[in-house]
Amino acid sequence: MIKTALLSGTCIALMASAAGAEIKVGFIGSLSSDTGLSTLRGAEIAVEELNANGGVMGEQITLVSADTGQDPTEGIRAYEYLAETEEVDFIISGSIDDVSLGWLPRMQEYRIPTLDTWTSYIGIIDMVVEDPDSMAPYFMNIASDEALATLYINFGADVLKEKMGWDSVVILAEDTAFGEAITGLVTEALAPVAGIEVKEIITYDVATVDFAPIFSRAQDTGADFIYQVSSVNSQVVSSQYVKLQVPMAMTGVNVAALGMEYWEDTGGAGGGISTLSPVPSVGFRLDPASQEFVDTYQAKYDSRPLLPHFNGFNAYHGLKQAMAAAEEAGGFDNVEGWAEAMKKQDLVLELDGQLWLRYAFWGDDEVEPVTGRTYPHNIRFDLSEPFDDAAPSMVVVQWYEDGTAAVVYPEKYATGEFTLPSWVKQ
């Protein structure tokens, strides 16, 4: 009798232990932003698909989330919560630049494999170069901002300078970390490479609601076009540009225009504006695998963002790659082994028989030929035609006055033409 009870007890304990065995993934990012939700939902779909196929290493995956509220200190607390309270095995991040910089010291301390899908700050890749051991758990599967800006300069030379004949630009930049970084990268390269003179840089507060004086000042510079850098309050500057019918073309980086909700958010006053975007973007032709992801996404979620932003794709494919790397390395505990396996991940997505997107990472000592530097742990990107090694670091998206959007650069990915708003004369 006692033996039977002991045996039953042992069996129950073992079963409970087996049922409790799981791989825990933590999401860190903003739960109230379209970009944060894109990463979370991309990860959720990947987890569901992996679990439906038997999980990883025979274990089911669970996903827990920690909101950062886009605040760097909250980001640190969120990372600590995932590490110490939830004891996650792997973290997927939809954090913005300074939030990622905030929790990076915690990642170095806990050594939890972490994949960033949104932050593109080249300074973090520089940290991998300088301190590869402590940064071993970190990977970034979006092209770094330096690569984004480098290809954008080509757009400046090929389209803005050569096709449109523009010689000078005025930069309107939000007073943010992102605005400062992109402005710096563009101004350093636009003049010497594309031959476009930067007439003036106008920095404005993110809470600005009246852009009439700013546009007026931009016109007074006599520049040929406006380069806008906006990541926080992008809808306001765009809609006022349209409503005021500013007689200058405006391109640049407009984060609001990266999502399908842009048209609705601007009240239909968002046409005529173009923006740099990481891939895949709105108006981007999708390969079959990515299209299948979008179909699943749209069947599952009926709230914004209705189409995942680029980082949703990065989370979906990236999480699967992280799990495949864990399977190869025997789990996440051996961080160096996992990192080595992660570096070998290579997902080539083809469209019409040619390479379209690629989820792979640069080798540690591999030099990118255009910039002449290394990008360890950063997603592999291609900065020159015909983009047969990887996807371009960015595309340029054009919003038209009828509410549609298309990719206009580079040519291989173009689904539309770069055009001026109807009220701007060439």
Binding site: L31, S32, S65, A66, D67, G69, D71, P72, T73, E74, I76, R77, E80, Y81, E84, T85, D97, D98, L101, G102, W103, L104, P105, R106, E109, Y121, G123, M127, D175, T176, A177, G179, E180, A181
Partner: protein, 315 residues
């Protein structure tokens, strides 16, 4: 100073209890307590100045930021050891505290609050444009030397710091200087009329407050390991400090400590239930209701409860 036996017992019990805590709670809880400890330090610092003298400062992140940036720049950019950088940061913050004192010599009330708010905004703008190679500009700084590794070590350090500040300030406030500072908050003219120099007393309060803010800010940044101007010079950070002091009970030492722990744990315990921004709404609503119900803070509630127990026991 009027120290009684039960003072030693209560402080001794609190100190022993806090240092034994890592034996019984999880690392996750310790991490939360570390943030609560730092918030308690900032709230005590604010209370020494604003709770006592009535000069409500909206610029406390300015002082904390000076301490944090000074040590961060010295250690990261100039390889100065923390043993030197932290004392230097405290001295620099105290000098900055004198800057905050200047408007207090002429104005008080809402005008003083607005001027101090301007100090915070000014520093926020300055660190982004002046020598961003040193300050890290808008992105701030990462990879700042941390003093401890692991939840328990971080907890012991922050607890030791918080308790040192709390006991020192408690002892200070038991002296005649503490009484005079509280009197300034009640009626500054009467204090002046009694022959005391209110300027000297205010300077003392401002310097003491700055000392604690600088010390807390310096240790805080060496705990975080990173520094972001957007988070440090943030109105939410300021309000968290003020609400912790108000909710716990101003013009006390234990009040800001209780307020800081209550708010930090409330927010953290809401996280699994309400992972998104909703928890801030619930947290704000609870804080508001508590403050409306008992404006003298949680300390007053605890004291009333204790008195009822004593009366019940005697009856």
């Amino acid at each position: 100073m009027g120290l009684r036996w039960f003072h030693y017992v209560l402080w001794g019990g609190l100190i022993s209890g806090m240092f034994l805590l890592p034996q019984v709670v999880s690392n996750g809880t310790l991490r939360t307590m570390i943030f609560a400890n730092y918030l308690a330090i900032f709230a005590i610092s604010w209370d020494v100045l604003s709770g006592r003298t009535g000069y409500v400062s909206f610029g406390h992140p300015f002082l904390i930021g000076i301490g944090a940036y000074t040590t961060a720049i010295l250690t990261k950019r100039f390889d100065v050891p923390v043993e030197i950088s932290i004392p230097v940061a405290v001295v620099v913050t105290m000098i900055a505290g004198l800057l905050v004192l200047l408007p207090a010599l002429r104005i008080r009330g809402s005008y003083f609050a607005l001027v101090t708010l301007a100090f915070m905004e000014l520093l926020y703008q300055l660190v982004q444009v002046i020598r961003p190679d040193l300050t890290g500009g808008t992105r701030g700084m990462s990879g700042i030397q941390t003093l401890t590794r692991g939840a328990a070590n971080g907890y012991y350090l922050s607890t030791a710091l918080m308790l040192s500040v709390a006991v020192s300030m408690w002892l200070l406030m038991k002296t005649r200087i503490g009484t005079a500072l509280a009197a300034i908050g009640m009626n500054e003219e009467s204090v002046r009329g009694s022959g005391l120099s209110t300027t000297r007393l205010k300077a003392f309060a401002f310097l003491t407050s700055a000392l604690i803010a600088g010390l807390g800010g310096a240790f805080y940044v060496h705990y975080l390991g990173s520094l972001a101007p957007r988070a440090l010079f943030d109105i939410n950070f300021l309000f968290t400090i003020i609400v912790a002091a108000l909710l716990g009970g101003t013009s006390t030492i234990i009040g800001p400590m209780i307020g800081a722990f209550f708010m930090t744990f409330l927010l953290e315990y809401l996280r699994p239930v309400l992972p998104g921004a909703e928890r801030y709404f619930v947290y704000g609503a609870i804080a508001l209701l508590l403050y409306m119900y008992q404006p003298k803070g949680l300390v007053e509630l605890a004291q009333r409860g204790f008195q009822r127990l004593r009366k019940g026991g005697l009856a």
